[in-house]
């Protein structure tokens, strides 16, 4: 069973994209006894990075600024040009005064720069005791499972999956991590580590706006890059469906999860955080209006706009909108209405008053702070595990997406237990990788 068009054509996603458990999980489990290391006290944080794109490169920069005695010991990416680029950047970075002052280092001989689809396993099973997961979202569940099985501390980027089966893996990894003493996991929903948001939430949870009765959140922006297939050759990558789809990952459901999942998850997470729970159902709409037109294999298959009405188990509604269309009104924000007042968390404002300084430089960098917090937990032996909240916020976004894709009322349990596995089976550079058509509300079904 899978998402298919009601007319019963051959266009089921099943045929395009079949379930898989990417090899390596078993290996990871076997290795875990040997590599269950935690850095206690002032022990060196040995960082292994999985995914060397813009965000991964940013994350190693952040971690090198976050705490003393940090060493980058392994990096991996699907593409060699990415690891080569990052290695060059790191040589520059390590000479920065602030990095030197912290005694932080880069120790990256060629043999610990891994390229290929299985690079993640090599990084996870290196000497690293602190794994940063920053690949495209579709791979995250597999990578999280492997890193938890290997007993490594984890900084994982958001979102942590793109479909129900992926989120189930992440929730299983969460449970597994809970069983291991002292395992620390922080997620890249950095608003939860941003001073202004923390102060705002403290006041909301302290009752300053009373009980929340309604919420809305937006990520309406101007669009995103599109990396043409021809760019592969510029990086010396042989043309293939898989290489193209990973390189232009934002535009494919299985790699990205659509922009409501990849981007809007931040605002949905803020609303869940404020209310302290996740929604139970959603109805909504969305479409693909302004993205490139053509064969989904070349132009991708994600939407460019969603408007979703989420409902929580206490009857509170959250209205969410997200859009990636150039020339339209931009708005990235969250707003809460309570029985005693209102709040705009994105403005750090409660009842019309700013509760923290905003937009003026010189405050703490939340992207650095999330590593500072994680390393502090590791060194003080105080476990932290954000996997559950980030999995729930990711699934919230998936719930909204499925409501729009199907045009139906969709429940939390439906998406959580969905068999809609978008990950292609047996990934290889040579494989032919057709892409499912753009969903059609009213016809597309969730299985």
């Amino acid at each position: 069973m899978t998402r298919e068009h009601a007319e019963g054509s051959q266009t089921t996603r099943r045929e395009f994209l079949k379930t898989t458990a990417v090899a390596g999980t078993a290996l990871a489990a076997n290795m875990s006894l040997l590599t269950n290391v935690h850095a206690a006290g002032s022990d060196t944080i040995k960082v292994g990075l999985v995914g060397c794109g813009g965000r991964g490169s940013g994350a190693v920069d952040n971690v090198l600024h976050s705490a003393p005695n940090v060493e980058i010991v392994a990096i991996g990416d699907a593409f060699k040009f990415r690891t080569d680029d990052l290695r060059r950047q790191l040589q520059k970075l390590v000479n920065k005064e602030e990095v030197k002052k912290l005694g932080n280092r880069v120790n990256l001989p060629e043999e610990r720069c891994f390229a290929g689809i299985d690079a993640y396993e090599k990084v996870i099973h290196s000497d690293a005791n602190y794994i940063i997961l920053a690949t495209t979202p579709g791979f995250r569940p597999t990578h999280l499972q492997a890193a938890v099985a290997a007993g490594k501390h984890i900084f994982t980027e958001k979102p942590v999956g793109v479909d129900g089966p992926g989120i189930r893996k992440v929730l299983a990894a969460y449970e597994e991590a809970q069983k291991r003493k002292n395992l620390c996991i922080v997620a890249g929903t950095q608003r939860r580590h941003e001073a202004g948001y923390l102060e705002t939430m403290k006041r909301i949870h302290g009752g300053e706006i009373g009980d929340i009765t309604a919420m809305r959140c937006y990520w309406n922006g101007q669009g995103i890059w599109f990396r043409d297939r021809s760019e592969l050759s510029k990086h010396g990558i042989p043309d293939s469906d898989l290489a193209y789809q990973i390189h232009n990952w934002y535009h494919f459901l299985w790699t990205c999860g659509d922009h409501i999942v990849e981007q809007h998850v931040h605002n949905l997470d803020v609303c869940n955080w404020a209310l302290g729970k996740h929604p139970v159902k959603a109805v909504g709409m969305g479409s693909r209006i302004a993205r490139p037109v053509g064969n989904p294999r070349e132009v991708g298959n994600i939407f460019d706009n969603f408007a979703i009405d989420f409902e929580y188990d206490n009857g509170v509604h959250m209205l969410s909108m997200c859009r990636q269309i150039r020339g339209c009104e931009s708005n990235v924000s969250e707003a809460l209405v309570g029985t005693k007042g209102t709040s705009r968390p994105d403005q750090y404002s409660v009842n019309g008053q700013r509760v923290a300084i905003k937009g003026r430089g010189r405050t703490v960098d939340p992207y650095v702070q999330e590593h500072t917090d994680l390393i502090e937990c590791i060194r003080s032996g105080k476990p932290i595990n954000e996997l559950k909240t980030v999995a729930e916020s990711t699934l919230t976004a998936i719930l909204g997406r499925e409501a729009a894709y199907t045009g139906k009322l969709v429940t939390w349990d439906q998406v959580l237990h969905s068999k809609e596995d978008t990950m292609p089976e047996r990934l290889s550079w040579e494989m032919s990788l057709p892409v499912a058509p753009v969903p059609v509300p009213g016809k597309t079904r969730l299985s």
Partner: protein, 348 residues
Amino acid sequence: MCRFVQYSLGWCLFLLLVLAMLWHDPASPARGSAPDQAPASAPAAHKAYTEKIAGSDVKFDMVPIPGGTFVMGSPANEAGRQADEGPEHPVTIRPFWMGKTEVTWDEYDQYWKQEEGAKRENQKPEDKAADAVSRPTPPYADETFGHGREGHPVLCITHHAAMEYCRWLSAKTGKIYRLPTEAEWEYAARAGTTTPYFFGSDPKQLGDYAWFAGNAEDVTHEVGKKKPNPWGLYDIYGNVAEWCLDTYKKDYYQSFPNDKPTLSPVLIPNADRFPHVARGGSWADEPARLRSAARRGSDKSWIKRDPQRPQSIWWLTDAEFVGFRIVRPVEEQENLKGLRSLTTRESN
């Protein structure tokens, strides 16, 4: 000491009349109607005008700023003064035009929102040249940060983006538009005054002229809603701080003689992303930051929430207080001819 000497208008007129007679066919129809082709600094042509951005309804106003000599910096006893404002030194500025207001999103959108590749056949040469200027990548979040778009100043963009906008606008209009030098900016803001503010010394009057921490309520406001300075410049203090062309150097003023004027000083920017000068203070600032002499240098904290590496060369993330205003030299100074931003993704 005479702190401000404006050229004698009468003398200028006379001189230029003579020059014009020497250089131009008196029957030429171009003169007067097209400011560009008038002789340099001709007072007849150096007057206010409105520029329309071709292919749109968007217009902006330019006001003439006469050439002259002034004392740059502030005296040691000025309230709120910082060390980087001294020593005071005389500076001579050539005539130029300056934007009556800060550049708004209406104007900037014409530049960056045009789709790459939406190039038409039979393009006019100026459109072709303008299209050759690189455009900002789409911003990841809301580029207005909730401050408002129509009529509001552009904010939170990099120095590189502001320079590239000027290059695009120059190609589009056939005129030289660029960021003001720091000296031009202070000269224009002072408008012949020597007091901390162009209206005097009392910050209590600031609310008549500027949006700042005392009245802005944490957001930008539509440009041109307060009173202008004596030379007709609106929001020269507050609303958004304004990018100047120069690299910021704390002890820069120590390099100038104080007994004779320096002509058109500028610390030409290199490829580095920071630091550059931002002047005039903003909605976020207390009065002292809005003084004519107050200087500020950008730094990497202005982009710290860009989680990507390399970070964007177009969009800042934590500088909702900085925007820009453009100038057009009557005659471009030699060392700025053909100047363009050298910043790339590889820049420090």
